[in-house]
Each structure stands twice: as C-alpha cells, then as structure tokens.
Symmetry: C2
Subunit: 339 residues, 2 copies
DNA sequence: CACGGGCACTTACCCGGTTCAGTAACTCCG
DNA sequence: CGGAGTTACTGAACCGGGTAAGTGCCCGTG
C-alpha cells in the first residue's frame, strides 16, 4: 500500500477521467453521467478517500471548526460540571454538522482574546464561543472588531454587538425567592461566584430587587471564586454573623455541598435551621444528605443551542440571539420552613 | 480596510520583493539580507499578518493539531473532574508548542474510532490520545493500522503496539491496602468503575493479589458506571451484606461522597464504623465531613506528559512510553481503625 | 441540414504558503 | 583577470482540492 493518503488525482487516474470530473462527482454536482459518478464514488470508497480538510479550507475559506477558549484557572475547571456538560452539548450539534471544536484552556481573558486573534488570523476557526463574560469585557469588542462570528454564552446586556445565547437567571431567582418567602424565610443570603463576571452582577441585582419586592430583608451576598473552600468559608461567616440567614443560595453545587458540611459541622440542622439551594443541579446535589434543592437546567441543551446559533452565524453572516429556558427549581430535602 | 486577511503576497507587494523572499524572511531561513528581513517583518507586523494554517498544513502535511475523542455518555462527563483536569494539562503543553486540541465527545468507542479515521483521513490531526481503554479495545488496533501517532492514556498492558503514558495503580492500591491493614482492617471492599475498562480490571486484579499478600479477606468488588447513584446503591448493598466491610475504596470521588452520605444516613459513623477512601482527589473530598482520605495525583501533569509524548511521536515518528508518578495516599478524616 | 442547446467532460487557473532550481551581482584568490 | 564560490533574490511548480470557462458531441427542430 502506498504511504500517501489518496487524493482525487489518484481517483481520477484510476477512473480514467480528469480530477475535475472526480470533484463534481464526489460533491454531487451536475456535469458527470450517473454511470461515471457511480464508478468514481465506488473507487473513492474502495481506496478510502477523504477530502483533505486543509485543501478544502484553502479554497472555501472555511475551516469547519469553531473555537472555545476557557479562561479559568485549571483547578477551577475540574470543579464545575458546567463546562463539560456545555461542551458535550455543543459537540453533539457540531459533530452532527461535521464541524469540529477547537478547545483551549488559558489563564486570563487577555490571553483568550489573543488566542481568538490567532485562530481567526490563521483561518483555523469560522467562529467562537465566548463564555464567562465580564463587565466590561475587552473580548467582546476585540472579537467584534475582528468581524469574526461569535456567540456570547450569557445575557444580552453583556454581549455588546455580539449575538447572545442565554437563560433568564432573574426568573429562576424569582422562583426561588418566591418559594423561600412562601416557606416563611426573610433573611436569604447568597454565596455568589466571581464578582467580575457579568452574570454574577446580574444575579446580585436581581436578588436585591426581587427581595425588596417580596418584602424580604436586604440580601447579604458573599462573593467567592466558586471553590469549595471559599464556599465553606463564606458559609461559616454567614452562620456566625449577627443576622444569621435562614436560607442560603449558592451559585454552584460544590459550594452548596461545602456549605452543607459546614452547617452540619456547626451543629445546625439542614433544613430546619438553615435551608440551602444550589444553582445548577448535578449528581452531587442528589447524593448528599439531605439532597439539595437545586436550580436545574439542561446544560447540554444550552450548549446545543449555542452551537446551532453560531453555525447559523457562520453560514448566514448573522443570527438572532436565543433565550434558553430558565432554570427550574427542584425542591429537595435541603429546604423547609425556618424554625 | 480591506476585507481580506493579509497574505504574504500583500507583504511582498508592499516590500517590493517576491513572495518567496517574504516566506524566507518570516521563517528565519537564509537567503535574505538582514535589512530586507527586518523590513518584511515590520510590514508583516504592521498589517497583522498571520500564516494561514490551512495553506501551511497543505505543504507541510502537518495540521499542528492533535485530537481527543471521549466516548462517555454526556451525563458521565460532567461528573468527573478527571477529564477536565487532564485536558487542561494537555492544553498547557500543546499551546506552549503552538498546537491545538480537537475535541469530540462521542457515545461509543466504535464512533470514536470512526472519528479518528475521519480526522486522520482528512489530515485534520497529527495524532490522537486514547483514553478509557477497554480490553479488548478495537480502537487500539484500528489506530495502529492507520499508522497515526497515538498515545494511550493507560497501562502498557492494554496499549498494544501504541505508546502508553500511565501511572502505577497497583502501587497506589498497595499503599492504600497496607495503610488500611495497618489500621486493623481486614474486610476492604471496593466500589469500582466500569468493568469493561482495562484499568478497572487491573485494579481488580491488583486488589485481589495485594489483599491476599497482606492476609486480608478476599475483597468484594462492586462494579458501577461511576455515577453517584450507583455508588450509593453499591454502598447500601455492601453495608447491608452479611460480611459488612470495615473499609471501602471508591474508584472516583463522587461515588465516595455518595457512599459517605449513605453510610451516615444508615446510622454508621464514618470513620469509626466504616472507613472510606476516594480514588482521585478533588475539592469535593475536602469539603465534605469528614473530609475524605484520597488517592491524590497531579492529573494536569499527567495530561502534560501525555501531550509531550504525543508531540514527540509526531515529530520523531516514535517516542518511549512514560510512567507518571503513582497516586499518593492523603489520609484525612474518613479513615480510622475499625471499631 | 444548419443551428441552437444541453450534456459530459476538460483545460486553465485559483486559494496561500513552501520548495527547488535557477540567475544575476559581488567577492575572493591564484 | 578569469574562474570558483557566495549572497540575495526570483520564477515556476507544488500541496489537494475548488471554480469558471471552454470544447466536443449528440440531439431536436425549423
């Protein structure tokens, strides 16, 4: 067997036609007789021909690849199931359309933007996803300037001129606070994520407004880096504070689990003494005791929608944003009326 | 500003030389005077030129990309921090060498092999990683046949003719069992992962052999799908069995946490009534009460070594395998002498 | 039976960067 | 001062596909 991958020239030689005829035949374009087309396809199949993606990218100016750079420290990435689930959802849509995902883990947003410059300049990708949007976020303007198709995974208010795919955190928070208020809670605190992230700020504001509306106390919000350690620390502080909250909402599940452990360790009964809600549901929420009441959403579907939107942008030059379903509150054993 | 990305022809025109001179200048190859080289580089910098990766791949027959396809169901992926940490480690090495990572989540190994066929046939990747090796695993032979550089993330015994990068699970298990034996445990069970995975089998065998050596009881091993649910279920069964184990080793941390919850729910005191050990450490192990004794390893470093090995294979055609450090036992509050 | 038109296929050239084989001009040396 | 060797650079071809613009050939038709 020859050591080189077969090309259309090889097929053309075998079929006794020009390589143009082969190209037409394989791309199902008119200009070849059915008989020739069939024989060309048979030969292609037989020698295991695949179109060289580089050659194709060169003429079509399409890479059939989209990029995702994540700017979180490595230790943070393992922690949250969110990204893996998002990626698997993105993938399922991409692979169905023969598109690949280029992934890069970087340490900061500046480096991420530089990555996008490189990818775009090198023609490696047709578009990118932007996650973990900050406010303000230099990536937004940077990517917009490049004219590269991009989908922001986050609220429109933070997406600038780019196309957003988002879910309504405010509605989810309203459900949760309404539920907690109905149970009789008045002091609902929140252990939030990184304060520089746009969605953290949006949640902060929504919580203040909705709390006021519902007649709850002004909420105490503690910002963390999403790690279990900081979640535990924040919980300890909240429990020890003068106006101890009767319910706490955590911006991810690892912090909620950490909070649960801390509360139990400090002799509190969950949910009688303290109710806990985890934002984003995972197996973790279900395996601890009591199981955690959680804000559940279909993250793979979220990724799928983002991918679909990005592919539409690449194909048509633009695409409408997409609002995904809001997270759904799943009450479990960690919430109850306060004592 | 022109709508097209600048090419070396643009630079050549501006510099008043041929595009060949530009190519030589930009690649630091002899054949251009220092003055010309400098001016060409300045122009390239000024107009923001980047080499088109497709064009480059076409001539050099190098994609500067390696692939990783993961064949686990989506819901499984989010659960384990392992892959995200591995990927971030792989990335850090790749990006330092200007290489990209193509990621694909597929549903089964057959599809994964098909993916590798496609990638290789299309010239999209220079090599791939193989994770979650089964025994037997059709991917091993399939990839070997293609002649595609590949690194197996797993034990040499399962890697066939491919190059392995692995860590010694047997040594880690020996440390753990020796430690538990020293504490006085005799019935040490294990809640293991998928039985079809080669490393699960290796651990199973090692556990039997080492247990016998140390004079422990023949170990009970329950296989699961790595999910918290099955971990909880397995733990319930073990606790309810006639010969209840006094210590349990879990093949991942989510199952260990699930097991901890189940044990506590069933009224057992951890560690007095039941000692627990988690294989692979994460934040999770530290935030629960008691914190879990864990087999800790530097997973990003593992990924880095795998990437380094693969890049060496791509460059030189072959590379020696690499044995990474074995997991280190980190004793925490979940292990103690049996009552 | 000449002519328009469609079919099946080819020739020629492009994409963007690399490589090989020149070719002038300039330097060195006997 | 002629020939060898070096330097700085260029033209043409190539990688593996794609597209635009032909070119014969057969067919139907007025």
């Amino acid at each position: 067997m020859s050591k080189h991958r077969p090309t259309i020239a090889d097929i053309a030689r075998r079929a006794g036609v020009s390589k143009v005829a082969v190209s037409y035949a394989l791309n199902d374009r008119p200009g070849v007789s059915p008989a020739t087309r069939a024989s060309i396809k048979a030969i292609a199949e037989e020698i295991g021909w695949r179109p060289n993606s580089a050659a194709r990218a060169l003429t079509r100016a399409r890479a059939d690849t989209v990029g995702l750079a994540l700017s979180r420290p490595a230790r943070m990435l393992g922690v949250e199931p969110f990204f893996m689930e998002l990626i698997s959802g993105i993938e399922s849509e991409l692979s169905a359309r023969g598109c690949a995902l280029l992934l890069q883990v970087v340490t900061d947003p500046a480096q991420e933007l530089e990555m996008y410059h490189r990818w775009w300049g090198e023609g490696r990708v047709d578009g990118v996803f932007l996650a973990d949007v900050r406010s303000p976020d230099p990536r937004i303007e940077g990517v917009a300037e490049l004219g590269m198709p991009a989908v922001v995974i986050g609220h429109p208010s933070a997406a600038g001129s780019l196309t957003p795919v988002w879910s309504d955190d405010s509605a989810a928070l309203r459900d949760t606070l309404t539920y907690l208020a109905a149970l009789g809670h008045r002091r609902v605190a929140r252990v939030a994520g990184l304060p520089e992230l746009a969605h953290t700020r949006l949640r902060d504001r929504a919580q203040r407004e909705i709390s006021a509306e519902l007649g709850l106390d002004e909420p105490v919000v503690v910002h963390t880096d999403y790690s279990g350690e900081e979640g535990a620390h924040a919980t300890r502080r909240l429990i020890s504070s003068a106006a101890r909250p009767t319910a706490v909402i955590y911006d991810n599940d690892i912090m909620a689990v950490a909070g649960l452990s801390v509360a139990q360790e400090m002799g509190l009964d969950v949910p009688a003494d303290l109710s806990l809600v985890a934002w984003d549901d995972s197996q973790l929420s279900r395996v601890v005791r009591p199981p955690l009441t959680a804000l559940s959403r279909d993250i793979p579907a979220y990724g799928t929608h983002a991918a679909r939107t990005l592919l539409a942008m690449v194909a048509d030059g633009s695409a409408p944003g997409f609002e995904d379903a809001a997270a759904r509150l799943v009450p479990r054993g960690s919430t109850a009326p306060p004592r």
